[in-house]
């Protein structure tokens, strides 16, 4: 029997952080957007310990203010791309309103820290989601293009090819051959 799993990464991460911090006996407030406030002073040695534990889950403590802002922008984008609500507002407006800062400023900080643009990051996220849907759901490419708000399936295909250097069907073929191979190696 084969089942498909869909993850809510934000929820997943929040749950892990909360469980781990409670386990370790820390008192904290969760402010949302990945922000946690410790209610008492935590010595830096303890922070190191927490950092080590979180790293196993791919969770990192972000230190400087710009990185924090970039993380918030990324979270807003991920939320935007993954939401089922069709987007009729522009992404720049959505992000600026969500973070309550001007888009020009956000866009500058983002490029400075990540060496890529917000627009580019949105495309990467959308293509990633398209990949996940291609592999893990029975949806065909036309249905995926509708779900991701592309004007047409051709537009999605072109952007896919442009971002990854290969066509969606080549991508699917490689992934399924990889799975066959790992299946063979495991039996």
């Amino acid at each position: 029997m084969k089942v498909y799993l869909k993850f809510d990464y934000t929820q997943l991460t929040k749950k892990i952080v909360e469980e781990k911090l409670s386990e370790l006996g820390y008192k904290y407030n969760s402010i949302g957007f990945g922000e946690f406030n410790f209610l008492e002073k935590v010595p830096s040695k303890k922070i190191e310990e927490i950092t080590g534990i979180f790293r196993e889950y791919g969770i990192e403590i972000v230190e400087n203010q710009k990185s924090v802002l970039v993380q918030k922008i990324k979270d807003a984008i991920v939320e935007m791309v993954n939401s089922d609500i069709p987007l009729n507002i522009k992404s720049s407006v959505f992000i600026a309103e969500k973070l309550n800062l001007s888009y020009a400023y956000l866009s500058n900080v983002f490029s400075e820290v990540t060496y890529t643009s917000i627009e580019n990051f949105i495309i990467i996220q959308k293509i990633e989601l398209a990949k996940q849907l291609m592999i893990n759901t029975p949806l065909n490419l036309t249905e995926i293009s509708i779900q991701l708000n592309y004007s047409s399936v051709a537009h999605l295909s072109t952007q896919f090819k442009h971002t990854t250097g290969m066509t969606p069907s080549a991508f699917q073929r490689i992934i399924s051959k990889r799975r066959e191979l790992s299946h063979k190696n495991n039996t």
């Binding site: 230190e63 990540t114 890529t116 490689i174």
Partner: protein, 148 residues
């Protein structure tokens, strides 16, 4: 963060290619630390040493003496400690069969070596930025396939 630069390794037996590669990274704005190896054996010795700092992305030439790129790729993918490293094949071959085979065996990126330096810079910068996104934005590395 503690590591503000991106760790990069290249294994390539061609000295000119290694030099171009290093120069290209020197000219990019991105903070990188590039280590190069002359063949597959040298590379694997380094990776298998437990004190080695593992690269964020590893560039592999396919045709190398002693141990070729595909052999390195297979070894890395079988090794629990190493199989998380993003692997970019860096080769002169553009045979479709070759390309697909390396992807199936676990490569993330396939780069056809460009003939001019400006192009090389553009390609490497693109690879490193997108790889960094996979590294820092919780994207699923299993789905990371890219051809340039």
């Amino acid at each position: 963060m503690t590591t503000d630069f991106i760790n990069i390794c290249l294994a390539d037996d061609d000295e000119d290619d290694r030099l171009f590669f290093k120069d290209a990274f020197d000219e990019l704005k991105i903070n990188t630390k590039v280590s190069t190896f002359n063949d597959g054996v040298e590379l694997m010795d380094f990776l298998n040493h437990e004190d080695s700092v593992l690269p964020h992305v590893l560039f592999l030439d396919l045709n190398m003496p002693k141990k070729n790129g595909v052999e390195c790729l297979l070894e890395i993918k079988k090794n629990e400690r190493l199989n998380n490293i993003a692997i970019a094949i860096y080769s002169t071959s553009s045979s479709e069969e070759h390309i697909e085979e390396t992807f199936i065996n676990g490569a993330n990126i396939y780069i056809k070596k460009p003939s001019d330096f400006e192009n090389l810079k553009k390609i490497l910068s693109e690879v490193v930025t997108i790889n960094w996104q996979y590294h820092t934005s919780g994207l699923n590395k299993d789905n990371f396939l890219m051809r340039l």
